[in-house]
């Protein structure tokens, strides 16, 4: 399958899955008894967080692979996923307070989950900014890889924060112990949304890696011009 066909297939699959998610979130899933309709933010808030974690995990794996092989293809995938992960993390940080205000009465609180998520977002933003300050590709890739591995340490902290500390943020609804659980229809919509966001993530990653390849080509052509 050539890259254009792959991109078109992914775009169609993502669009179909996202439309189905919207139907599921607004029309199929039952209304939550305590919070009412505002709880439907859950179907984009949680999958956005999971997708951000997945993207940052790819950054971690590619950073390790780059340090082992010094092959710049790993760096291209790492920067692509760092940028996309930051976008999804931004979505989490925007939808969270919009959900929190009507339910908690406040937009934000400095509890362990919210604070560690904000730190996660700031770290990957720093990762992207750091790259802009470094010109030489191998040096940039090496420093970014070290930073990419270091930044990933915060992902398990964010994930386990609601289990380890008392937080304003709710306890986990999945795999959270005896009191946790989700209505089967809500669970189906959550899984559908997670699949839709995952396809969107793969599509964005393919497009972003292509962009990085074009950037490398520009650098190569510039060097060639200077040598002539």
């Amino acid at each position: 399958m050539n890259s254009l066909r792959l991109e078109k297939s992914l775009a169609l699959a993502a669009a179909a899955a996202l439309v189905a998610t919207m139907y599921g979130a607004f029309l199929y899933a039952p209304t939550e008894s305590t919070m009412g309709d505002i709880q439907r933010i859950f179907y984009v808030h949680v999958p956005s967080a999971w997708t951000a974690f997945a993207a940052f995990f790819v950054v971690f794996v590619c950073s390790v692979a780059y340090l082992r092989t010094k092959n710049l293809k790993w760096d291209r995938v790492a920067v692509a996923c760092a940028e996309i992960g930051t976008i999804f993390c931004t979505a989490v940080l925007i939808t969270g307070p919009i959900w929190a205000k009507p339910v908690w009465g406040i937009w934000w609180t400095w509890d362990a989950r919210l604070t560690s998520t904000l730190i996660l977002w700031l770290m990957y933003l720093s990762y992207l900014l750091l790259r802009d300050f470094l010109e030489e590709p191998q040096r940039r890739a090496t420093l970014a890889a070290v930073f990419g591995i270091f930044a990933f340490v915060d992902v398990p902290i964010v994930y386990f924060s609601i289990r380890l500390w008392r937080t304003q943020h709710p306890q986990p609804v999945l795999m959270g112990g005896e009191d946790s659980g989700l209505d089967p229809m809500m669970f189906q919509v959550l899984m559908l949304s997670w699949v839709a966001f995952s396809i969107l993530f793969v599509l964005l990653a393919v497009l972003r890696v292509r962009l990085e390849k074009s950037r490398d080509e520009v650098q190569q052509l510039r060097r060639q011009l200077m040598l002539q």
Binding site: I41, V44, L204, S214, E217, V218, L221, Q224, Q228
Partner: protein, 50 residues
């Protein structure tokens, strides 16, 4: 309901905006590659492969 629609609208604007930024950056790089390839060929010589 306003907050709910606001949240969904922001999410989709964020993703559409990011997709548009990718497309714009790709187009800009594509134009730059075309120009640079022409300059390399004009200056002379080594054919450039993608």
């Amino acid at each position: 309901m306003t907050s709910l629609f606001l949240a969904y609208a922001i999410i989709w604007l964020l993703h559409v905006g990011y997709l548009l930024s990718l497309a714009m950056r790709q187009n800009s790089l594509h134009r730059e590659i075309t120009t640079l390839k022409a300059m390399v060929e004009q200056k002379g010589h080594i054919p450039v492969g993608r």
